[in-house]
């Protein structure tokens, strides 16, 4: 190898750290706190979310009441009993009264040192409940961090009340494992859309985990008859269902017209409702299809490069298919735990070196040459497909903020996202 450029010698991988996922989960529960065992280098990581991706985040506070705090500990000098110090701090945070639930995790070197976070957390018996999130930074990525932090929160929920039978009432549904990565109106609109569609489908959405609500409100998820497990929180959903005794249904994201209808139908079946989807749902799908039809001329037979997380990718590809938009290449920022629900594109890169990925995308030629880039901020800032029109989607989205409703799930989401894709192609707005 004769390469001497930075990109060749030290590839910048398209991947996000485990703790960023943990931070996202804490960000999504408005009164949760997190103690990170480690030095102050853990604090700027919150800036990848607060103020950059989520303009409504309360993770950091100018008043000083941050929801993420660190213990300011380092490997050296060694403390004779570090766990005692940590316990004392956790007890203080739990007793603070400002947090309804407290999570604790640590930097990887504490995992190497064998710190017993679970035991330390269980030892805090006064104040807000405390749970550990395993310190898995060395072996897992941000999506695992998000899921495990949600699971820890589910462990802390109060014991469920006995679910009584409710003859004649709509089955109650809890959606768990939603990636509520910011409190802006893309996600609030998504949740409103899911609630609306479930109601049209004869179901009652009682809780979404997480959804920006306070910790105690998440306990409503324990009242559900059916827990729908979205891919960002499989463990959390399973734990929620196990705790309440509800039925568990694992699904992908309800994206696109057919994807949304299929999702609703699956939920109805799992909830024990007979018959197909109500006519109102079919009418909604039909209406949305009609509204989106004029965009097909813009989108059909074009190619899009996707860059982002594998779960969004799994939902986006079928939706793109509906629009007759091809996805010849994808770069995913996390390993894939589950089998992808779609046939992989010609070029599928997992946690790639960004420079190499850009070169591979640039090499796509002929009918595979893409015309559009769909993905998170880093896809653009790292030059994955320079010059291509860009639709910013997923975490992080530093260049696209939502002051108005901009859902991307459900029928409304399909309309909005299709509009964004078509507008980008028409206006030819390249990455910043």
């Amino acid at each position: 190898m004769n390469a001497t450029s930075r990109a060749d010698l030290f590839p910048k991988l398209f991947s996000l750290p485990y703790q960023l996922g943990v931070y996202l989960a804490v960000n999504a529960v408005s009164d949760a706190g997190l103690v990170v065992d480690g030095g102050d280098c853990v604090m700027p990581k919150a800036d990848f979310i607060a103020g950059n991706h989520d303009l409504r985040s309360t993770l950091l506070s100018p008043y000083g009441k941050h929801r993420i705090v660190c213990t300011m500990t380092a490997p050296l000098p060694q403390d004779s009993n570090h766990e005692r110090k940590l316990s004392s701090l956790l007890a203080e945070v739990a007793a603070d009264g400002g947090f309804s639930a407290v999570l604790v995790t640590g930097l990887p070197f504490f995992k190497l040192a064998g710190v017993d976070y679970e035991g330390v957390a269980a030892g805090i018996t006064k104040g807000s409940p405390v749970a550990d999130v395993p310190a898995l930074s060395l072996e897992a990525g941000w999506l695992e961090g998000y899921d495990l932090a949600l699971e820890a929160l589910v462990r802390l929920l109060p014991a469920p009340r006995r679910r009584g039978r409710r003859p004649g009432k709509r089955p109650r549904v809890a959606v768990a494992g939603y990636l509520f990565d910011r409190g802006e109106r893309d996600h609030t609109a998504n949740l409103a859309e899911l609630g609306r569609l479930l109601a049209l489908s004869g179901l009652e959405l009682v809780s979404v985990l997480p959804s920006g609500v306070p910790f105690r409100e998440l306990a409503r998820g324990l009242e559900a008859d059916l827990v729908v497990s979205l891919p960002y929180g499989r463990r959390a959903a399973a734990r929620l269902a196990a705790r309440s005794g509800a039925a568990l249904l694992e699904t992908g994201l309800p994206m696109g017209l057919k994807g949304t209808s299929a999702w609703l139908a699956a939920l109805r079946r799992a909830a024990g409702l007979r018959g197909g989807l109500p006519a109102a749902v079919a009418a909604e799908e039909s209406m949305a299809a009609g509204e989106m039809a004029p965009l097909l001329d813009v989108l059909a037979h074009r190619g899009a490069v996707f860059a982002g997380d594998p779960h969004l990718f799994g939902a986006f590809v079928p939706f793109a298919g509906e629009l007759r938009l091809r996805v010849p290449a994808a770069a995913l920022d996390s390993g894939v735990r589950e089998k992808l629900p779609v046939r992989p594109p010609q070029l599928l890169l997992l946690r790639p070196d960004m420079a190499a990925a850009a070169a591979a995308v640039a090499a796509l030629g002929g009918y595979d040459k893409p015309q559009l880039l769909v993905g998170n901020s880093f896809a653009a800032t790292e030059g994955l497909a320079p010059g291509l029109p860009f639709v910013e989607l997923g975490f992080p989205s530093y260049g696209h903020h939502c002051l108005n409703d901009e859902p991307f799930l459900g029928f409304s989401g399909a309309r909005t996202l299709a509009g964004r894709l078509a507008n980008a192609l028409r206006s030819g707005n390249g990455p910043r």
Partner: protein, 874 residues
């Protein structure tokens, strides 16, 4: 399910006992998983009759599948075995390997799923780190058996192990007792006395029996090979005792080192209170109220932590006759007369001349020991005696008192010296909850590496994401001012974003197997990037530091083979470890927010200076062709070059090669002092200058005058463009209607006169020059602080030739009230974006990022400030 873990000093027979216990438990009809947690991998030898492949040989996803692959059916009926294994001796972290495997066991629910009735863990001889205590985590072992002999080292080890069990009692773990493997009756007696001393019991005494050696040669458990042997009989007894063991009402308690020493010398420790049922976190000490009163009575006020020791202010009794005893405290060492600094430290590590009380000692602060001689030592001893009833841990807990966990964090930090008299705290996420600062000194400059140098951060992906631009609090904000990008709204990039800063992506496998190959390869790559003669800066971050690899040797190799200079910096780069004792007042480096963001550590500065001097030396003899070389300036470079050219000076265009450009200039002008660059220029005989910051009309003129003077020119400095002065007066008229406010701590008052606090931008002087009035709101928690701050504010006003209206506050509510008046106070300085403390009071936040250099920049700055004053958005 029985869940038993065997500990004990190496070579004492743990594996023999553990494997025989496994065999006996299985012989009783049970299903036993025998887990060998020793990198030697010999625990399962007697049960399996052969070596088995260890779990650590197969890293990868799906831990349950891997786990099952490495669980082997033993020839002994009912026993299955797994060995954790470990890295090549001397490399990696075996403890981590144990933790990883046990996590897999628990997460998979394997013990329950497969219906085991018992799990037996056989752990490495001495527990050297938390990884070897992994079986004591929740969901694993309940009963601990410590194997001892009569040897003192074995008992010493056992004593330490009991401390470990105490720590994990919170998980329901308890010491079942001791298994004594002694040579003779005297040895058994010694072990029994030890058991009594630590309040535990002897479960069984294992006789020396040739049957054991014979069975081991045959690689079978002795209890099966010789079931009638004395050994087998003792093991059956041990097994029964373990089964019958229950947590006692009075748990064991380890001896202190002193007590153990007494024990070894035949002096049994005095009766000691039993350990608490479980060692749960202390939380707030129940005696904190009493402690507060005791501190007050002692006239002591804890003000900070230094090197793990508590620094206090002590008010000398008024009855003390200073005149008779000497000349009073040394000048500059004390606050008001009669107040001295003292140090409370653990007795074992206290400084010279301590007065020992409880498990701590008190002494005068370094440099004040002369007071001891003046008779003040007796006064101090008398005062501190009132605290003698408290332990050192209680005193440190007290320091973080007040129900403020942020203060608690800070009190735990060596650097979180809140009320400390040693300089200013700089981290915006520190000192929270009580008084949160408005001015965050910028960070990030340290990430920039000199041309030709490569910075390698040997760390994991979390380290890689330890800096981010433009966040909510700008914890790692870009430097405002001359070196920065000016007003910027750029999005964060994928870190590390600088062209010559790299992360090695240290991962789990590197931790378990050792990271030598990763380091070696990374250094080679960095050396190639730097090129021959280049500089490689190698930062060892926290996780790899635990492996304690021989990085020095690897650095030497790359220096030799690749012809580069190389320097290593360790955890100190994170700024978390203890500061040198002889430099208690040393200024903190700015911007220490990330793992690779050191203060300008002297080793790094020296290496950089030497490297840059070498690079510059290559251009020795080059005749200067331009007057000024502007180095290290950001987006404002063009504006400043224009000013210089209008003053009759030539400037160098920014070249690709910094060193070649520098050699061509008669004068290098820098935006701020740079320890390495300035030293390199001096060494190379190049002239350099850091003139006053060119902000505001007066500042620009001073900057130009400074440059011209350094070049020996007598030509006048360029003035503002025609019409600029008129516009300035008009803007000043408008600005006169408004006031700008600075919320500061008393330590921040003096720096307000210059620019260092705000990234080199002299904000207050420029605001005053622009015609705004200025208010100071100063945090002063007590009358003494208020009086000192008032004097400092007066001095600041005199220095700037302005009347600064100064008010004081000691609580957030007071500050909020002050921020709401007067109406003319439209602007409040804050580095937190859209600071709600400011907007909530109906004011507009502004920061140094709005300030532009140069004459045009000065006008633009005032326009921006006026726009903020006059906008009516909420």
């Amino acid at each position: 399910m029985e869940s038993i873990v065997f500990f004990g000093k190496g070579g004492i027979g743990k594996s023999t006992l553990a494997s025989n216990v496994s065999a006996l438990l299985a012989a009783g009809g049970g299903s036993v998983l025998h887990v060998g947690c020793d990198p030697k991998m010999d625990s399962t030898l007697a049960l399996m009759g052969r070596h088995i492949q260890p779990f650590s040989d197969s890293p990868g996803p799906d831990p349950e599948a891997r786990l099952r692959e490495f669980i082997f059916d033993a020839p002994v009926k009912g026993v299955r075995c797994i060995e954790v294994g470990g890295p090549r001796p001397g490399l990696g972290c075996a403890g981590t390997g144990i933790g990883v495997m046990l996590d897999a066991v628990r997460d998979s629910g394997l013990l329950e799923k497969d219906g085991y009735t018992a799990a037996v863990f056989d752990v490495l001889g001495d527990v050297v780190c938390g990884g070897f205590a992994a079986p004591l985590r929740r969901g694993f072992a309940k009963k601990v058996v410590i194997v001892v002999s009569e040897e003192l080292l074995s008992l010493y080890s056992a004593n330490k192990l009991i401390k470990m069990v105490e720590n994990y009692a919170r998980n329901g773990v308890y010491l079942a007792g001791l298994a004594v493997n002694a040579k003779n009756a005297a040895g058994v007696r010694t072990a029994a006395e030890f058991a009594a001393a630590v309040n535990t019991r002897v479960l069984a005494v294992i006789p020396r029996d040739p049957a054991v050696a014979a069975a081991e040669r045959g690689r079978v458990p002795a209890v099966l090979a010789s079931p009638k042997s004395p050994f087998a009989a003792a093991l059956r007894g041990l097994c029964a005792a373990i089964r019958a063991a229950r947590p006692g009402s009075s748990p064991p308690r380890a001896m202190s080192d002193r007590e153990f020493s007494d024990f070894t010398e035949g002096r049994p420790p005095a009766a000691r209170p039993p350990a608490p049922r479980s060692v749960l976190p202390a939380g707030r000490s129940g005696s904190s109220r009493g402690l507060a009163a005791a501190f007050t009575r002692a006239r002591m006020k804890p003000t900070g932590l230094e090197g793990g020791q508590i620094v206090c202010e002590w008010t000398v009794p008024t009855s003390f006759d200073w005149g008779e005893r000497g000349q009073g405290p040394a000048k500059g060492r004390t606050s008001p007369r009669g107040t001295l600094k003292i140090v409370i430290a653990p007795a074992a590590g206290s400084r010279d001349g301590p007065i020992r009380l409880s498990d701590w000692a008190v002494c005068f602060y370094p440099g004040q020991a002369e007071h001891q001689a003046r008779g003040l030592g007796e006064e101090l001893a008398a005062a501190a005696a009132g605290l003698a009833g408290f332990k050192y841990a209680e005193l440190t807990e007290y320091f973080g008192r007040g129900g403020d966990h942020y203060a608690k964090i800070s009190s735990f930090s060596e650097r979180g010296n809140q009320a400390g008299p040693f300089g200013t705290l700089i981290l915006p996420h520190m000192r929270l909850g009580q008084w949160q600062r408005f001015i965050f000194p910028p960070g990030g400059a340290d990430l920039r590496v000199p041309q030709g140098a490569v910075m390698v951060e040997h760390g994991d992906i979390e380290c890689r994401f330890s800096c981010c631009d433009n966040g909510a609090l700008n914890l790692f904000r870009e430097r405002p001012g001359l070196a920065g990008p000016g007003v910027s709204s750029r999005c964060p990039l994928l870190p590390k974003e600088e062209a010559h800063v790299m992360n090695t992506d240290f991962g789990a496998l590197d931790a378990v197997r050792g990271d030598e190959a990763l380091i070696s390869d990374s250094l080679d790559r960095a050396a190639r990037l730097a090129g021959p003669g280049g500089l490689v800066e190698f930062y060892l971050s926290c996780a790899p530091m635990l492996l304690a690899g021989d990085t020095g040797r690897l650095l030497e190799r790359v220096k030799e083979e690749r012809g580069v200079a190389a320097v290593q910096l360790g955890s100190d780069s994170a700024g978390l470890s203890e500061r040198p004792e002889e430099e208690p007042g040393a200024a903190e480096p700015p911007g220490n927010c990330g793992s690779i963001l050191p203060g300008f550590a002297s080793a790094k500065a020296e290496a950089r200076a030497a490297f840059m001097a070498r690079k510059l030396a290559a251009f020795k003899g080059v005749k200067p062709s331009v007057d000024v070389n502007l180095i290290g300036f950001g987006d404002c470079r063009e504006e400043l070059a224009g000013l210089l050219e209008r003053s009759g000076l030539t400037t160098a265009s920014p070249g690709k090669d910094l060193y070649a450009s520098a050699a061509r200039g008669r004068l290098a002008v820098l935006p701020a002092p740079d320890a390495a660059l300035c030293a390199a220029f001096s060494e190379a005989g190049l002239k350099w200058l850091v003139p006053p910051a060119p902000y505001g009309f007066a500042g620009v003129r001073a900057w130009l005058d400074g440059v011209l003077a350094a070049l020996g020119r007598r030509t006048p400095a360029a003035g503002p463009a025609p019409g600029a002065e008129k516009e300035r007066r008009a803007l000043a008229l408008a600005a006169g209607r408004y006031r700008a406010c600075f919320v500061v701590s008393s330590e921040e008052l003096e720096p307000l006169a210059g620019g260092t606090l705000m990234g080199g931008v002299p904000v207050l002087p420029v605001v005053l020059e622009a015609g705004f009035g200025a208010d100071l709101l100063v945090y002063a928690p007590d009358p003494a602080a208020r009086s000192a701050a008032a004097a400092a504010a007066l001095g600041l006003g005199r220095k700037l030739g302005a009347r600064l209206r100064t008010r004081f506050f000691s609580a957030p509510a007071q500050l909020d009230a002050l921020l709401r008046r007067p109406r003319a106070m439209k602007l409040v300085y804050s580095d937190a974006r859209l600071d709600p403390r400011v907007t909530g009071a109906g004011r507009r936040p502004f920061s140094a990022a709005l300030f532009e250099p140069g004459y045009d920049g000065a006008l633009e700055t005032v326009r921006r400030l006026l726009e903020l004053c006059e906008c009516d958005f909420r």
